[in-house]
Subunit: 387 residues, 2 copies
Amino acid sequence: MEMDETLLMIPGPTRVAQRVLKAMSENIVNHRSALFGRILTETTEMMSDVFRTSNKSYLLTGSGTAAMEAAVANIIEPGDKILNVVGGKFGQRFAQIVEAFGGESITIDVEWGKAVNPDDIGYTLEENDDIKAVTVVHNETSTGVANPIREIGKIMDDYDALYIVDTVSSLGGDEVDVESYGIDICVTGSQKCLAAPPGMAAITLSNDAWRVIEAVDNPRTYYLNLKKYRKSGDAEPPETPYTPAVSLIYAMHEALKVIMEEGLSNRIKRHKIAAEATRNAVKALDLELFPDEAVSSTTVTAVNLPEGVTDGELRGTMRNKYHVELAGGQDHLKGRIFRIGHMGNITHRELITTFSALEMTLRELGFEVEMGEAVAAVADTYLPEDL
Amino acid sequence: MEMDETLLMIPGPTRVAQRVLKAMSENIVNHRSALFGRILTETTEMMSDVFRTSNKSYLLTGSGTAAMEAAVANIIEPGDKILNVVGGKFGQRFAQIVEAFGGESITIDVEWGKAVNPDDIGYTLEENDDIKAVTVVHNETSTGVANPIREIGKIMDDYDALYIVDTVSSLGGDEVDVESYGIDICVTGSQKCLAAPPGMAAITLSNDAWRVIEAVDNPRTYYLNLKKYRKSGDAEPPETPYTPAVSLIYAMHEALKVIMEEGLSNRIKRHKIAAEATRNAVKALDLELFPDEAVSSTTVTAVNLPEGVTDGELRGTMRNKYHVELAGGQDHLKGRIFRIGHMGNITHRELITTFSALEMTLRELGFEVEMGEAVAAVADTYLPEDL
């Protein structure tokens, strides 16, 4: 199998530490054994710590989308109204899932690049007292926008609708406090800020969420039926209803240990500095941020593609000549923006490499660039005590 | 993380070769890159070779159950009749999935331990000309029975209903020829005879199956929507609709290479000899096979628990003292049978270890056992040219 050493600066999958990759070469154990039960318990307990909740967490073998589907498919009955905040590709996805499972999606459409106004959610709930749940994507990976999930949580306090939040590309990198924000169902993925390999998702649910799920008679879901995950998780030894990706759970266990060793608050602070350094470097290059800077993401920065260069030229040169992989735009933003992921294990070092490569790439593509100015902007953002 | 070296003789997950485990420590690459596209293409092409089909195969991040759900959820509309052959836990599962997705499950109930009579499928299709599909579990892991999927295929030739076969615990270990048996949808899992780590499933579909899928307006599925897998698989570079378990695809790639190196026919022959050796050793110990021997599985042998010993005593001693893990019974067979998996990389060596441990375990539990007789029965089954 051919392999390469490209530096991944995309919004997931992110670079995985050697100790986490190595954890996957451990022998496979029986997934219905006491030993595996202990590994599963330790992993899900660390997951709940990262979610900042005292509720149990469950691991799903699947992508973040599987967890989004689980969040919706288990609570919905035909015709149920779900309010979806749509300001990017992943907000859209929640709405598509609601429709696929027979619900009625009511959307608050937010211009891509802007955050939702929490009051708009309040108004919509006020006008529609039969909305069963509200979905919000915390960090819209497609636009580089962070939505104000804490403030939305305060609004949601006044309503019965469940509060569902996708923290796939924020958990472990930006502020998420499931319990204090009043989040009822929170989902995430392994391959973003948690810096584990892709293929696992995690979900945690409040008692209110479980009450809604219990009242759904015949959910159109089997593999992702959360009642089965709860029952298996409560068994002795704890297990999963279907054979899980054992090796990926080893990797999650190790990746979560890395997070505990760094400290969740330190990790979030590191992400905030990396995001600031990225924005400063982008500005030093006279490039434009795509989103409103006030709501720009802590884990991925979206940048307008400068005039006179194509996405293929910019990202192709970065990848083929400098071995740094950036992400392009999605949907109507394809060819209009590029995105720099700075989530997971990203430090000053990877940003310096990325921006040095970007300086050289832009020079090669005919832009006037003073070599070192973006790199200096990164370096200037970090204080000695941040490193 | 604590680990152990127990020999897994369960019907999945099976022992994974070091070279396959090591493949997972390669760096994660972008799942939307040309490099990953090549790895994905090579892996799915080898999958189709193992399925023995010229149709494309698709990898799903999830367990075998996810692939069973994909097979059903994509073809079903509310009220559709699906014929499920139920002779064990996995046959039941197909029926449950049909009901969960709004279909009407018509079952042929087969006594656990016996195989279905293909003519019964013909009679049922004759009486119900609106049956949309028939599901058969090739190898009923819960009972150690192999159903006659070739003969069923001949019957199915006369009817329009789709022929769906679960080869989760047989593909790569027993005869499966998707194209010549006329199978429309065939599903399998990574962690059984393919000897890869758990967490991936594979599916392949005939043109007839795609025609049915295309006619379903609004399938109640999103993460497992097969039309999206086809579209992404046909993209350039080929990809998956949602972030896949990249490391597990590396492992599948390597595990399938191992199969190609051994040769699929050699591998199936090796499984047949291991099954025969297992049955001979069971008989040498005066233990009884649970299923009809004529239809007993090539990959897992179910044995009646002898009187005077509990499942916990027998399997507990095997595990704790001899570090050999056997499987117990499921559902109403719990405490009545134990199961020996001999799938994947199992050779003469692991069977000798297992039966020597079983001899000592039975002696310790008060049975009269002549040491070495089961081991000799294993050795006698293998001809020098088999090794």
